[in-house]
């Protein structure tokens, strides 16, 4: 007998099957994921979840008898009171009580299973893409790293490639017929033996000449020649920036209701999830502002209220400060999302516009402005006036691809707006 411990075998043996299954059920799974994400809070989205899909698309048919026609016989255990000839009323589901009827019963109407977090996000964020990848590449070129790239004939001694060098040396020695030291030694040995035996002096002389010839030859053909030497060659290649920082800017003045903050939060979470799938590390910086701006931690950002006026430029100044201190542009991809109800001090508009256009946008990969509005507004849409901030930003957005702006009113809008911003073929991108 053998006992073998297989517990350490690589897990996920059925992963390939699972991928095939998800691909097969793709349509239904995508639909189920979209439905699920509409229904539940976005905070939970990250966890992945149980997904229920109709069994139709993944049903495996086979020839089997219908449960409803013909005569069938059953032998059942546990008779209590029946005697021969008794009748039993037909059970409601068409009498599927036999030994064969129930085999396929489970999961026929619908099929439930659990999607992992990654699978869920894959489908959830499918066909979304980061904007401005071209510009992004140019920015990346500022940091480089050295990579091996073949061999060269020049270099510093510490990059000498011994294997290559010796291979070249060997082939050159073979080509130029450099005598082997063993051969010379063997000849000398033979001559010594001849001399000891007092052999033919002519033969000894001929041998001596031959040895001389070989010696000269091996002096002329060096063991290692400068033409043999090879060095490892290194090339500088641009280093991809694998980290991103995401700035969450939000107006927390009194006019922002809980509903508005909730909308903003949902948008931030989506953006965060999205970025995290593209970068190894994602930092988040929360900056809230009233008439003055401050960097805060997450709970404070979302849950504490402040009173004061609204001066948007302060947040931008704060963002610039944090950027300068902690996130040098050559090491970080910079994203920002600003949420506001659109109020701003009228005299601040010009300053905000200037800061954004000249200070912030050139540094950012993407700057999303989300204007959150009350869930139920009173006026009709036609007469709704653009807010201060909206008008200010719109002028910049027309000239910039980095700035995108959308209005969000209800929870339902969040995901479509998000998809709209990052959809693969953005019309104006």
């Amino acid at each position: 007998m053998n006992i073998i411990d297989r517990r350490l075998n690589p897990p996920g043996k059925s992963l390939a099957n699972r991928q095939r299954f998800l691909r097969r059920a793709r349509e239904q799974v995508v639909k189920a994921v979209r439905d699920a994400s509409a229904k539940r809070g976005i905070q939970d989205i990250e966890n992945g979840d149980r997904i229920t899909i109709p069994a139709g698309g993944v049903h495996e048919p086979s020839f089997r008898r219908a449960a409803t026609s013909g005569q069938r016989e059953h032998v059942l255990p546990g008779n209590k009171a029946f005697a021969e000839g008794d009748t039993i009323p037909r059970p409601p589901e068409g009498g599927g009580r036999g030994s064969q009827g129930a085999a396929d019963g489970e999961g026929e109407d619908e099929f439930r299973f659990v999607l992992s977090r990654d699978e869920f996000l894959d489908i959830f964020l499918d066909d979304l893409e980061l904007p401005d990848l071209i510009k992004h590449k140019i920015k990346q070129a500022q940091a480089t790293t050295l990579m091996r790239a073949g061999f060269s004939v020049t270099g510093s001694p510490n990059t000498l490639n011994l294997v290559r060098t010796m291979r070249n040396s060997l082939s050159r020695r073979i080509a130029l017929r450099r005598p082997k030291p063993e051969d010379i030694a063997a000849l000398e040995q033979e001559r010594a033996e001849l001399e000891a035996e007092g052999g033919d002096p002519d033969a000894i002389r001929a041998m001596t000449e031959q040895i001389e010839l070989l010696r000269r030859r091996s002096r002329r053909v060096p063991y290692i020649d400068p033409v043999d030497v090879r060095y490892n060659r290194y090339q500088a290649v641009p280093k991809p920036i694998a980290q991103a920082v995401m700035f969450c800017l939000m107006d927390v003045s009194g006019s922002m209701t809980e509903h508005m903050k909730d909308l903003a939060k949902r948008f931030y979470i989506l953006l965060y999830l999205f970025l995290r799938r593209r970068y190894q590390a994602v930092d988040i910086v929360f900056i809230r502002h009233t008439h003055e701006a401050k960097e805060v931690d997450e709970p404070t950002f979302f849950y504490s209220t402040e009173t004061g006026g609204t001066v948007v430029s302060t947040a931008l100044v704060e963002m610039q400060r944090v950027l300068k201190e902690r996130y040098p542009i050559e090491d970080w991809n910079i994203y920002a999302a600003q949420a506001s109800d659109g109020d701003n001090l009228i005299s601040d508009n010009a300053r905000t516009a200037a800061l954004l256009r000249d200070g912030i946008l050139p540094l950012c990969q993407y700057f999303a402005y989300i204007e959150v509005a009350a869930e139920y507004h009173t006026g009709t849409g036609v007469f709704e006036r653009d807010t201060e901030l909206w008008r200010t930003y719109r002028m910049i957005a027309e000239a910039s691809q980095t700035l995108a702006m959308r209005r969000v009113r209800t929870r339902r809008d969040i995901f479509p707006v998000f998809r709209d911003l990052f959809a693969r073929n953005r019309a104006h991108a």
């Binding site: 897990p11 095939r20 299954f21 691909r23 021969e84």
Partner: protein, 510 residues
Amino acid sequence: MSALLFEGADWDYDKLWRTYDAIEAIAVTELGLDIYPNQIEVITAEQMLDAYSSIGMPLMYKHWSFGKRFARDEALYRRGLRGLAYEIVINSSPCLSYIMEENSMMLQAVVMAHAAFGHNHFFKNNNLFQQWTDARGILDYLDFAKGYVARCEERHGHEAVERILDAAHALMDHGVHRYPRPRTPDLRQEETRERERREYQQRIYNDLWRTVPKRAGVVQEPKAVSDRKKLLDLPEENILYFLEKKSPRLKQWQRELLRIVRHIAQYFYPQKQTKLMNEGCATAVHYAVMTRLSERGLIGEGAMLEFLQSHTSVIFQPDFDDPRYNGLNPYTFGFNMMQDIRRIAEAPTDEDRAWFPEIAGQGDGWGVLREAWAAFRDESFILQFLSPNLIRKMRLFHVRDDSDEPVLRVERIHDERGYRAIRQTLARQHDLAYLEPDIQIVDVDLAGDRRLILHHRVTHGQLLEPTDARSVLRHIAALWGYEAVLLEVSAANDAVLREHSASAPPVAID
């Protein structure tokens, strides 16, 4: 120093070895079992789920349906709706048994007795397995199959392979030779055959043939029906085999895929016919082994109580009116029959002597069982050995369900008049040939539109489930390349009760 083999729930390799040796002493010397060499593999719960999803085999080609099964089992397991089997055992030599790391030491002992001795003995000695499966070759064959499917996926694309496998899986139950012994699949032969076939085709390929003008005006005479059927070996009930050999539009690799699925179906064919006996045998063995271990003072009382608790839950049989009822539990029924046979052999009543003159009072209960395990399958086993005593004990009764009548009728119960009828009906419920619909390919219109004609011989008015039948028929049409028609023909009077048809997809599958 205690004489116990183990104490407490934790297991380690030492304990496993010690226990295995003790079990072997009992199983081989006292019960007289004859086994393949054993290989016991310790696995995790996830690996157990893996093994579940690929129909219990350690190697399997990739297909989405295995992923589906895994997803469903995993969801059920995670929600606690379903426990995992304690073990999986594979009919191969050496005989592989998987045991889970979560099991307690007591369970590991039961599992070893159950799988590594009970099932193992059955696999090695039952004549169906001896005739139909090749325990030594199966793992190699699966390895070949897995590699072959993977290569096909690389060469022809996932979708093309998936289409063929989907169709083949739908027909898996109809890909079995029921009568002649199949040729042993052997890895090396398979590969050589496959390679030679390809090389031959490359060698005889000559572009000139394309340019030879066709002779005009020669019309093939339509052949007589009997000639044509003879030419195609019709009727044929092995649908996969027929399509593999005779389908005009399949490519070589597609035929090979059908062949692989067919071989695997063939491999499992004996298991489907001996479920009851196989489980009964293993359960009887583990019960006897554990009882003996306890009698010899090798396991403690705590372990024995734990064993009895899990044993009784394995052989729990809910009554027919219990909401948990889901057919006869093969463990219970099999175990009961084994115990009953031993009782008949060792301590018979007068009734037993009348019913089973050959074995009653014969004395060697295990000897009788070993012979029964070797020579029978479920259906014949029940027909031969189900005793009135057991029918009474399980209170079996026979119900007729006729869809034309408003009520079900109790035909027989456990009394003198009922024993034989119940035994017969129950045996038929375990007969695959009776359980699976009888579907055969009967004709092909070769000179005409090449329509494939299948018949389903309808017995007792049981028609096929129409949606499924149409889906499978579509698969057949796709493999055949032309239209396929399925007629449901009454076995009693040859009347056509229902007709399904499916046309081939507009482009040949490739």
